[in-house]
Amino acid sequence: MAIVVVDVALKPEILDPQGRAIVSALGRVGLSGVADVRQGKQFVLTIDGEIDDAKLAQINEIASTLLSNPVIEDFTVQVRR
């Protein structure tokens, strides 16, 4: 079994209304010093067997077609050892 973590976030140029809302909420609760917040989501995939190049390619396919919207989002894939 191997654990693969896929992080998905809006591309940096794209407006992130939720991140903006968190920044203004920080100000309201008196926590200063945070200039910007970008919110994303994380997927933790448990994979049968060992990770090889073919499986990694498949996970990238999953990430780009189902887990993220490549028009407005970027993703990263990390194998957790």
Binding site: L10, K11, P12, E13, I14, L15, D16, P17, R20, A21, S24, N69, V71, I72
Partner: protein
């Protein structure tokens, strides 16, 4: 990072520039050089390229659209006509209404949710920039084959986007259309309409008047979204490791838009603003050049003052950015503090980015360097104008010659019944409630009628009951058979849908969706549709107040059906007198107003049952259409009708089925003498409505029809003892359709396909 300054443009006149990559033709580029007397800076090139695009300059459509300005009917209710952000119509009692429809087709195919959402955002800002409070939205939509898997991706995304943005904004979505046709497969149509109301004295225009006045940019910060094309410039001026390709999609924030609405209305009503403009396509380039050329003629902008979401943006990108939820206001220096205080109250960021002058130039500087120095009119209004060649394509002869005469028609009572059940469940005729129930239709508490009624109706004044009704329509198959007549039929249907509810049709907006203007056949369709619409508007006395043209709607080389979506707005003195579509009481008489002919070309029956498109669309008599509307409006006012419903796609079968499903009460109908059951049920002859008349109003109603010499045929009566439609005279037999069965068939189609 090096910036291309005006002085650079003078000192390096021969530097090659990526005009072609920005969509400019060689002669357009040469003409910019001619206007400036030098090569443009990269910022200037960016401005011209986007402002001279088809989308902003209307360069292919302008020569034809002029007809809306020359064929203007006598109509005293126009307060503001074409050319402003949206037209304004007087509806009496000191109230005015503004409404406009725009397309967001291409972004919605790339990114359905955000494309459709920002389409609503854009049209709402057009309405607030006239000084009006937005009170309702509508969405005419067109999708490809419902069985194609990509249609599911596109439709569900678009519908969620409309619901997500509109519901968060707190605006009721009161109608629109959902039509399926394979011609929209790679190019769905997402048109968005917004209606706003205001008092006459609150009308505002987009112009920068008053030398020394401040230009204030307020709303969301400027980011790198929606500037895909301009990346060509960015990649040239950026260092090698700078951001390469910017996304061409924008993400909207409806909560910011809501703040922008309230903030804008407060500064307008507080008299703090001299001129105002929303930022849509072409962003700051468009707003500054349009404000300047409509006002004193000059403006200076300090581009580095623009508040940014992303500090790495180049000046070209800031000028081009289509970040959502931004507005531009022209404010007297003495009122800047008050303006800023209102912005602060609504938590809206604002900054003075420029100053009005009479230099006749739009000048932009960035960090002390002059990067733009242009005559604003040359950017905003004096773009290229093309007389594109147009010609009636030869295939029109074949298409018009292959009529529906030889299509197999049902020939027994059982077949008629089966056809009726099948037609009730086709994607185009089926209930759209799976979609419309995702939209908030009643927020704000002034919605009188919403889908599935013929028009959306909104109460404007709670004290007097004054209201407006709006409908959008287009049967693109008719336009494919004859674009001139098709546009007129679209107008007629929309006009009728407004009148059916009891509102008097007043004014027109349009969203003209076509293929590539570089194709002479498409350009011919466009020319025909515009001429047809202008001629009909002149005759019917309803001026075109504004609208939008969307070209290049095609999948590969295949253009969509010409789709001139027509919105009609009408006024009703008291919304309590509206006519609903559901019949009410036992014994009421059911009539068809108008003449039913054997007209099946372009009909839903030919499309759904036979996948056939050919022949000539139904004949249309505009005078008869106006008479019908007079009867419908007068009948509503006098209380002659308990219900009324337009006859269009799917014919009388669909009209009566919808009325029965809406009310749940049965009806006994009889095929009138002189008509066969099939023609009676599925012909799509224009200028018809089904009305339901209480017995005690019968004589007065018939006298009204007689006085107008308008044909009327009794087809049956409401019977509350049955829960079905009973139709006699069907090949000598009676058929019975249970309302519950019809309802199941009607309501299961969309959830089955998309749920």
């Amino acid at each position: 990072m090096s910036v291309d300054k005006v002085s650079d443009a003078i000192s390096s006149p021969d530097e090659s520039q990526p005009f072609a990559e920005l969509g400019l033709k060689k002669d357009e580029y040469e003409s910019i050089r001619g206007i400036l007397g030098r090569r443009p800076t990269s910022s200037e090139l960016a401005m011209y390229s986007v402002m001279w695009s088809e989308h902003c300059s209307y360069k292919s459509s302008k020569v034809h659209l002029r007809q809306f300005g020359t064929k203007v009917p006598k109509n005293n209710s126009m307060l503001v006509g074409i050319g402003e952000n949206a037209g304004v119509v007087d509806i009496g009692q000191g109230w005015a209404v503004t409404f406009k429809v725009e397309s967001h087709n291409h972004p919605s195919y790339v990114e359905p949710y955000q494309g459709a959402a920002t389409g609503i955002g854009g049209i709402v800002r057009d309405i607030i920039s006239m000084g009006a409070r937005p009170v309702a939205v509508m969405d005419p939509l067109r999708f490809g084959d419902p069985e194609n898997p990509d249609t599911r991706r596109v439709l569900t995304g678009i519908v969620s986007g409309i619901g997500g943005y509109g519901n968060c904004l707190g605006l009721p979505n009161i109608g629109g259309e959902i039509v399926f046709d394979p011609s929209y497969q790679g190019n769905p149509l997402v048109n968005a309409l917004c209606v706003g109301t205001m008092k006459h004295e609150d009308i505002h225009l987009a112009k920068a008047t008053g030398i020394g006045n401040a230009v204030i940019l307020y709303g969301a910060r400027t980011g790198g979204d929606g500037i895909g094309g301009v990346s060509v410039l960015a990649s040239e001026t950026f260092d090698a490791d700078g951001p390469a390709k910017r996304p061409s999609v924008q993400v909207g924030d409806p909560f910011m838009e809501k703040l922008l609405i309230e903030c804008t209305l407060e500064v307008l009503h507080g008299g703090l603003v001299e001129g105002i403009q929303d930022l849509g396509g072409a962003g700051i380039s468009c707003a500054t050049s349009e404000l300047a050329s409509n006002g004193e003629g000059g403006m200076h902008v300090w581009l580095d003052r623009v508040l940014l979401r992303d500090s790495t943006l180049s000046p070209e990108e800031i000028l081009m950015s289509e970040s959502q939820e931004r507005m531009c206001a022209v404010v007297e220096p003495a009122k800047i503090d008050a303006f800023m205080a209102v912005c602060k109250k609504w938590d809206v960021e604002a900054v003075v980015i420029g100053e009005v002058n009479n230099s006749g130039r739009l000048t932009v500087e960035s960090h002390g360097e002059q990067i733009v120095d242009v005559p604003p009119r040359s950017v905003a209004h004096d773009g290229p104008v093309y007389e594109r060649p147009y010609a009636r394509p030869d295939w029109m002869d074949v298409r018009q010659a292959s009529g529906p005469e030889n299509l197999v028609r049902p020939s027994s009572a059982a077949q008629v019944k089966q056809t009726w059940l099948t037609m009730t469940g086709t994607p185009n005729l089926a209930s759209k409630s799976w979609v419309t129930s995702q939209y908030d239709r009643y927020v704000m508490g002034n919605t009188i009628l919403a889908q599935p009624e013929d028009s959306g109706m909104i109460r404007v004044d709670e004290k007097t009951g004054l209201g407006v009704a709006v409908s959008t329509d287009c049967n693109a198959r008719f336009a494919a058979l004859d674009p001139y007549k098709g546009a007129q039929l679209a107008l007629a249907e929309s006009y009728r849908n407004v009148a059916v509810t009891g509102a008097k049709p007043l004014a027109v907006t349009n969203c003209l969706n076509f293929g590539s203007p570089e194709d002479p056949a498409v350009m011919w369709q466009f020319e025909q549709a515009v001429t047809g619409l202008a001629d009909a508007c002149l005759e019917m006395g309803t001026p075109v107040t504004g609208g939008n043209v969307s070209f290049y709607n095609q999948t590969g080389e295949v253009a969509i059906h010409p789709t001139p979506v027509i919105g009609v707005l009408g006024v009703i003195q008291n919304v309590e007198r509206r006519t609903p579509m559901a019949w009410g009481l036992d014994g009421e008489f059911v009539y068809v107003l108008g003449t039913t002919r054997d007209e099946l070309a372009g009909s839903e029956w030919a499309h759904a049952i036979h996948n056939h498109l050919g022949g000539l669309p139904p004949v249309l008599d505009l005078n008869a259409e106006m008479t019908l509307a007079e009867i419908l409006v007068a009948g509503s006012r006098e209380g002659f009708f308990s219900a009324a419903h337009d006859v269009s796609e799917g014919g009388i079968a669909q009209t009566t089925a919808e009325m029965a499903m809406r009310s749940g009460i049965g009806v006994r109908l009889d095929v009138p003498a002189g008509l066969d059951a099939f023609t009676f049920l599925w012909s799509e002859s224009a200028t018809r409505a089904v009305v339901v008349v209480p017995q005690n109003q019968n004589d007065a109603f018939l006298t009204l029809c007689q006085s107008k010499s308008f044909p009327v045929t009794k087809i049956g009566s409401v019977d509350s003892s049955i829960k079905s439609i009973e139709l006699t005279g069907v090949f000598g037999e009676t058929i019975s359709l249970a309302i519950d069965e019809l309802r199941v068939i009607s309501e299961e189609t969309l959830p089955r396909l998309f749920g």
